[in-house]
């Protein structure tokens, strides 16, 4: 049974008397299975937060529907939300209360005692700063506090919207480690982010949306899988190498990145390409198999500029 399942979920904002309606989420359907670390990707304004908002009950869908833990009626969804820990966009807390007091309020609603509040403060490394008022916290501390609040109540599903936003590399790494720890504990993680390298390192599955429409849902491996990709370097200029690779019948794409020529082959035989180029007097100094990064796959799927250009 999927933990989250949407069916043609739609949100249309009325433009008022004279304005035009805005279709923020356009009939998207996807599912998240138990135990997955699910990345929800999309450019800014693509409808990620609106979609999550609908799942969390703060935005009313205008079409379609969804199931949480198999339930779809209002009562079932309200009950299912008790099994979710979530934070949306920015960490939202009472600025005049301390980190601990903010968590105490959340803890009471989730039926958790002071001991568990202390435990999650320890987990996110805020125990020593628990008396700091929220308004005096750094962005990193706020993000950790939001993570602590989502962990309260031992939820089965954790929804995080841009959890590494504004964090330095060490902070991002810490968040990544916490997410992996939660996943190891059997939690399902639903993670929205635009930091693609973070998602690639963290997630097992992704869904990509653009302009409110779902473009693709698959495992990270499937998304980045696209035949064989090889990086090439030769003692000729880049343009000549690109042109020569472009003539190779087995090449489906070619481009240059930072002085390297990247070729995409339809079969798994880079040696054939090597022979082809040698036959044209181009001797390679470097040839190595490479994998498409999630960022490259994302840009390709969303029509970004770094996608492979067709050569045939």
């Amino acid at each position: 049974m999927p933990v989250i399942e949407t069916q043609s979920l739609t949100k249309r904002y009325s433009g008022g008397l004279r304005g035009q309606d805005t279709l923020a989420v356009d009939a998207i359907s996807f599912s998240v299975e138990q135990g997955q670390i699910f990345g929800f990707l999309g450019p800014n304004g693509s409808g990620k937060t609106t979609t999550i908002g609908m799942l969390l009950g703060i935005i009313t869908p205008t079409g379609g529907g969804f199931r949480l833990f198999g339930g779809s009626s209002p009562t079932e969804i309200h009950a299912a939300r008790q099994r979710i820990g979530a934070t949306l966009e920015y960490p939202n807390f009472y600025p005049y209360l301390s980190c601990r007091d903010n968590l105490r309020l959340v803890g009471r609603v989730k039926g958790r005692d002071e001991g568990e509040v202390q435990s999650v403060l320890d987990t996110v490394g805020l125990a020593s700063r628990q008396k700091t008022k929220f308004k005096a916290c750094s962005l990193g501390m706020k993000q950790r506090l939001a993570l602590a609040a989502t962990m309260l109540g031992d939820p089965e599903l954790i929804v995080l919207d841009e959890p590494a936003n504004g964090l330095d590399p060490a902070g991002q790494r810490e968040i990544r480690e916490i997410i992996h720890r939660l996943s190891d504990m059997g939690k399902t993680i639903f993670l929205s982010s635009h930091l693609l390298h973070e998602v690639e390192r963290t997630c097992t599955h992704v869904a990509i949306i653009e302009k409110g429409r779902l473009i693709r849902q698959a495992s990270v491996g499937e998304i980045t899988e696209r035949g064989t990709v090889v990086g090439l370097r030769a003692e000729v200029d880049e343009a000549a190498l690109v042109a020569a690779v472009g003539e190779f019948p087995g090449a489906t794409g070619v481009r240059t990145i930072e002085g390297r020529v990247i070729a995409q082959l339809e079969n798994d035989d880079p040696a054939e390409l090597n022979r082809f180029l040698a036959g044209r007097g181009i001797h390679l100094a470097h040839l190595a198999e490479e994998r498409l990064t999630l960022e490259e796959a994302f840009m390709e799927l969303t029509g970004g500029e770094t996608g492979f250009g067709d050569v045939h």
Binding site: I58, E89, F93, V109, K110
Partner: protein
């Protein structure tokens, strides 16, 4: 801790009440108006006590002092200060986006609304209670051996009327807070309503229509003020006023009919709370 989540059981109401009180008592924007109100009450009753102590002609003692403790001045202060507190406590939940986070944390929108609506009786009890405690304490210090019950039945009636008046104005404050969704804007609209719209704009526009003119007295703030005044609720005090007027050869006051005022105020309270709920439910967070 195990068992059903509080949001799925009746325990949630007690938890929401505790959370609202916890947030309020740590909030400067709540403590300042409350402190100012207490300061005014303290100053007012201390002054009455001192004047009574100096001047044998004056008296500030129970039960006669109820007329001042539950009189127009402190009651009007209460309606305004408690409404300001309510606007501050509710509307800033939208500025900080904590309203949406509360729902994300598992509270339903209905539960969230009821949690805020619970602030109306909470603030009423707090403000009225503080006023009575401070006023009655000074009045008790100066008890002059008067006969009759120290807490006549009129006290309960006047407190009930004050509570009802605040349910109506608190409902208005809640409605504006949920419609405007920002502390500064909501505060401005609330003051604009009680100070300008009801007092000037409506009388100068709709009030010019003959059929509407008699209805102006039923506007929420105008009507709430007609419920204030201890003598309207205590027959003995009213009789003393009549006797005094007769002795002085002045016009004898007519016994007020409070029934319509009470019913319409209750109607406003219900309508404004229901309206606030509908406007909150219909909009995304």
């Amino acid at each position: 801790m195990t068992g059903a989540a509080p949001a799925l059981t009746g325990k949630i109401w007690w938890i929401l009440f505790r959370n609202e009180w916890f947030k309020a008592r740590k909030r400067l924007a709540f403590l300042l108006p409350l402190g100012f109100y207490v300061f005014i009450a303290f100053g007012n009753y201390f002054s009455s006590y001192r004047e009574a102590a100096r001047d044998p002609e004056r008296s500030f003692a129970l039960p006669g002092a109820w007329r001042e403790v539950l009189g127009d001045d402190m009651s009007t202060f209460f309606l305004i200060f408690a409404s300001v507190c309510l606007v501050m406590l509710v509307s800033s939940e939208f500025t900080w986006r904590t309203a949406r986070q509360n729902v994300i944390d598992g509270v339903s929108k209905t539960q969230w609304f009821v949690g805020k609506a619970m602030l109306v009786p909470l603030l009423a009890v707090l403000f009225i209670g503080l006023n009575i405690v401070i006023g009655a304490t000074f009045a008790a210090l100066g008890t002059d051996g008067a006969t009759g019950p120290m807490i006549p039945v009129g006290v309960w009636r006047a407190v009930g009327a004050l509570f009802l008046a605040y349910c109506s104005l608190g409902g208005l404050a809640l409605f504006i807070s949920l419609a405007v969704r920002g502390a500064g804007g909501a505060m401005a609209v609330w003051f604009l309503w009680i100070g300008i719209i009801e007092q000037l704009i409506i009388p100068q526009t709709l009030g010019r229509i003959d059929a509407v003119q008699p209805l102006l007295q039923y506007q929420p703030f105008v009507l709430a003020q007609t419920l204030l005044g201890f003598e309207k609720w205590d027959p003995a005090t009213f009789q003393r006023l009549v006797d005094a007027a007769r002795e002085a050869g002045e016009e004898i006051p007519l016994a007020p009919d409070m029934t319509t005022g009470v019913l319409v105020t209750a109607g406003w309270a219900v309508a404004l709370l229901v309206g606030a709920f509908i406007i909150f439910r219909r909009r995304d967070l």
